[in-house]
């Protein structure tokens, strides 16, 4: 029995022996992307779970050339690596960044925005686990409304995070980037195809992949993939691309699964009131209204 997706990527493992929690969605994203890009990928990872679990001398878990950047410096280091290798005469390589949501949407956005503006020839992958996980689950700009984190505690007075999630995908698109995409580790073939596509485009590419964190989300380790599917199926996340100035939706669930059921599976949302859930449902519907109005459609699943 042959698997087309598996055959399309390297059989080698490039992210191996790492110390991520069992069932970590971020490590799945990094692993899969590197199997697409192969041994001439040069990975840049800022401070965050993936670098913390992968680079403890002498336990070094990347088989390809890889380097940790400062927390704010993923994109600027990518720029330097790409320019440096080019200046040295190398042609056949891919400079790829893997940054968390905090490292991307908060402290790293200056450098990311600058790299897109220069149209540097890099791939920037944000593995989004929706909080600062490496430091113990603090709210980031990509923490969704209602989520309990250690800096947005849920109590009688405040029900967790009061702000919606920043839309990094559309922000990247507003830079008129050559290619941007959203993905989820729950739909790994779609993610793999997007990394593949990105690797063939010149200029800056941004891929935003939802990567559940069992530790931070309060789910069992074996639920990572299921929950990563469910967030798409219930419509709180969507799979899409931006290319040549156009948005394309890649997957239109026939009917959304129940948002409440998605939320209540997770420790971080346990406290939500009916009112909170109504707000979340409404904002989902508003988002999809916008998507349906302005996005094209091309199924990729």
């Amino acid at each position: 029995m042959s698997n087309k997706v598996a055959d399309s990527i390297s059989r080698e493992e490039f992210f191996y022996g790492h110390k991520a929690c069992a069932g970590c969605g971020g490590s799945l994203a990094v692993r899969a992307a590197l199997k697409v890009l192969g041994q001439n990928a040069v990975s840049v990872l800022p401070a965050g779970c993936m670098s913390a679990v992968g680079f403890n001398f002498p336990q070094l878990c990347f088989s390809n050339n890889s380097i940790i950047s400062t927390f704010a410096g993923t994109a600027s280091m990518l720029t330097g690596v790409e320019a440096g290798l080019r200046a040295k005469g190398y042609k056949d390589f891919t400079a790829v960044g893997f940054a968390g949501d905090g490292g991307t949407a908060d402290i790293g956005i200056q450098a990311l925005s600058g790299a897109i503006d220069r149209n540097d020839n890099i791939i920037y992958i944000c593995y989004d686990n929706e909080a600062y996980m490496n430091t113990g689950i603090q709210k980031s700009g990509l923490t969704p409304f209602g989520a309990k984190t250690t800096t947005t505690p849920a109590g009688a007075n405040i029900h967790g995070n009061i702000r919606p999630k920043k839309n990094m995908f559309e922000i990247a698109a507003a830079h008129d980037i050559p290619y941007a995409a959203t993905a989820s580790v729950g739909y790994i073939a779609d993610f793999i195809a997007k990394v593949q596509k990105a690797s063939q485009i010149k200029g800056t590419k941004y891929i935003h992949v939802i990567a559940p964190c069992p530790t931070g989300w309060g789910i069992a380790p074996d639920e990572t993939v299921n929950i990563a599917r469910e967030v798409v199926d219930c419509g709180l996340w969507y799979l899409a691309e931006y290319e040549n100035g156009e948005f394309t939706l890649n997957h239109k669930p026939k009917e959304f699964t129940d948002v409440e059921s998605y939320l209540k599976k997770q420790g971080r949302f346990k406290h939500l009131s009916d009112e909170d859930i109504r707000i979340i449902n409404e904002s989902r519907d508003r988002k999809w209204e916008h998507i349906n109005k302005t996005f094209g459609y091309k199924n990729s699943l």
Binding site: G17, A22, R31, L60
Partner: protein, 97 residues
């Protein structure tokens, strides 16, 4: 070749690098101690569809002779593979006690 555990695990003063650059993929500790449950492949059932291979966050599953095999040195026992395998060829068993 799949990354593997190395013999040399500790580094003396002179062996510590002069800078922060070292051989990629150098592994000195295993992750087997993390497991309290372990995935076990029922080779009779496994059809080699590679779904478990694609979704294992640790990349410890390979397909050999059409069947899934697991590198128990580095499997953490997360159980994702067992849930992914639609035909139930992977069972989770208690590690030891």
């Amino acid at each position: 070749m799949r990354p593997h555990i190395r013999e040399k695990k500790s580094f003396t003063f002179t062996e510590v690098p002069e800078n922060t650059s070292f051989e990629a993929g150098y592994l000195t500790t295993v992750n087997s101690g993390w497991r309290s449950i372990r995935p076990v492949i029922d080779t009779a059932k496994c059809v080699g569809c590679e779904q478990c291979y694609l979704y294992c966050p640790d990349g410890v599953i390979a397909i050999k002779d059409g069947k899934a095999v697991i590198d128990y040195d580095f499997c953490k026992g997360c159980g994702i593979c067992a849930k992914i395998c639609k035909i139930g060829a992977i069972g989770m068993e208690a590690e030891r006690k």
